[in-house]
Symmetry: C2
Subunit: 252 residues, 2 copies
Amino acid sequence: MNETTPTGRARGIDRVIALMDHLHRRRAPTRIADLARDSGMPRSTVYELVNTLVDARWLDFRETEGTVYFGPAMHYFGNDYLDSIDLIRKARGEVAQLAASVGETAQLCMLDGNKYLVVLNEAGRRMFRISSDVGVKVPIPWTASGRLLVDHMSPDEIRDFIPEDDFVLPDGRRIGIDEFMGDMATAHARGFSRTTGLVDRFTTCLAVPVRDLAGRCVATVCFVVPAETTAEEQATMIATLQDCAARLTFPA
Amino acid sequence: MNETTPTGRARGIDRVIALMDHLHRRRAPTRIADLARDSGMPRSTVYELVNTLVDARWLDFRETEGTVYFGPAMHYFGNDYLDSIDLIRKARGEVAQLAASVGETAQLCMLDGNKYLVVLNEAGRRMFRISSDVGVKVPIPWTASGRLLVDHMSPDEIRDFIPEDDFVLPDGRRIGIDEFMGDMATAHARGFSRTTGLVDRFTTCLAVPVRDLAGRCVATVCFVVPAETTAEEQATMIATLQDCAARLTFPA
DNA sequence: GGCCCATGTCCGAAATACCAGACTACAGTT
DNA sequence: AACTGTAGTCTGGTATTTCGGACATGGGCC
C-alpha cells in the first residue's frame, strides 16, 4: 500500500519469478536453504515452491547433492520461444553451421534495450573455447556487433541512447564517442565490423549485419576468434558471415 | 480438502504452471481470452498473470495480434538447463556438427519415463525437412533409438516397462514383442540401430548408442533420413554417428 | 550417549491474493 | 444511434496462502 502497487499484478507469482531469477543469476545448482537465505524468502515458503516446481519439472532436484536447478520444462519452453521468432528460428541452423564449418565460436546478437545481447551461441572446436552464455548482455561499445546494431542512429541519438558509463571497458580504458562513431561509419561502409582487444586483450570479433527490408540492422552474426588470427583467415570468415547474413536478410 | 491435498505444495503457483503448460501444448501465440476459456481460469486472473509474466519477460505480448507466447526469459532458463547437464552440454556442438556436415537432421535422444524423448534436434539442409520438435515424446517401439535405449532389459522387464499400446504404430500396424526384441539384439550386437517406415512410411532412422562407463545406453545420437538413402550413404552416416558417440561416451 | 548442525515437514494465526462481476473503451454492424 | 462483441481494467469481501517458528530426522563428532 505504501509503495507503488500497480493494479492488475499477480503478486503471488513474484516469489516464483524471484526464485527462478535467483537460480539464473547463480548459474549453478543451489541448495534450498541457500536459496531461501540469499533471496530473503522464508525457508518454508521456498520449500513449498520448490516442491511444486519440481513436480512440474520446472526444476530438477539432485538427490545426491541436495540441490535444485532448472529442469527440462524450461528447455521445452525456451525452445518454443526460439521457434516462435522467425529470424531466430532460421538463424539457429545457420549459426550452428558457421561454428561447425569454421570451427570458431559463432553468435547471433541483437539489441535488448540499450545493451548488446547474445541470443544464440555455438562454441567452436578450440581446446580453450572463447564463448559466452546465451542471454549475456554487455554495453554496446564493447563489441563489434554493437557498432552495426546502432548504425542507423545520429551522433546525438547515440549519445542519448548509450549510457555514459558503457564507454568504459572492463579494464578501465575509455572509448571516445568520436572513435566509436568512426568505427561505426567504417563498419557501415565496409559491410562488416571488426574489433580487437576490447572485452579482453586476446580476442577479435568479426560481425556482419542482418538487415530488415528497410535496411535497418536488426541482428548480427559474428565470430569470436583469437587476436592472432591472420588477415586471410579473417577475410574468409567475413565472407562466410556475409553469405549467412544474406540468407537471413532475404527470407522466403 | 475433499481431494488429496499434498502438504507442502504451493498451490498458488498451479495457475502459472497451468498457463505455461497450456501455451506449450498449443505451441502458438494465443489470445488472452482464449487462454482463460480453454484453461478454465477466471478471465481477470489470467489477465493479472499475463501482466506479471510479461513484465518478467517470461511471456512476450504481441501488440499487433493481441496474443501472448513464451518470452526470452524462458530461453535463458532453458539454456541454463542444457548447460547444467554435462552430456547434453557436450552433445550440443556435436549434434550441430552432425547436421551441418552431413546435411541431414540429427538428434540426441534419451528416455523420459517409459517414453522416447527428443532432447536436441538440428534440422538438416533439405528443402522439405524431416524434423521433430525438441521435447517431443513418442513410444519407444516407434524408433530406432528406442531399441538401443532399453537394450539392457530382459524380455520380462520390457513387457512391464513399455505400455501394451505403445507397440501400435501411428498407422495401426502392431509390432510384435518378439520382433522388437530381435531388433534390439541385432542393434546391440552391431552397435547401431536402423528402422524404416515406422513413424511414417518415408523415413529411415539411424541411431547409435551413447553409453556410460557401466555400458548402459544413456542416450542415442541419430540421423533421420529419407527411406531411399543408399546403403553406402547410410554406412558413412553410421560411422559418423559412431565417432560422435565415442566422443560423448568417454568424456574428459 | 550427548551435542550440534543441516535438511525437511508441519501448524495455524494473520495477511493477502483470487476472482465474480461491474465497468470503460472501442470497433463493427444494422 | 442503438446494439453487439471483444479487449482490458478495477474493486471488495472472503477463501486461500503465507510464513514464523516448533518439530522431526539423521548424520558427524567428541
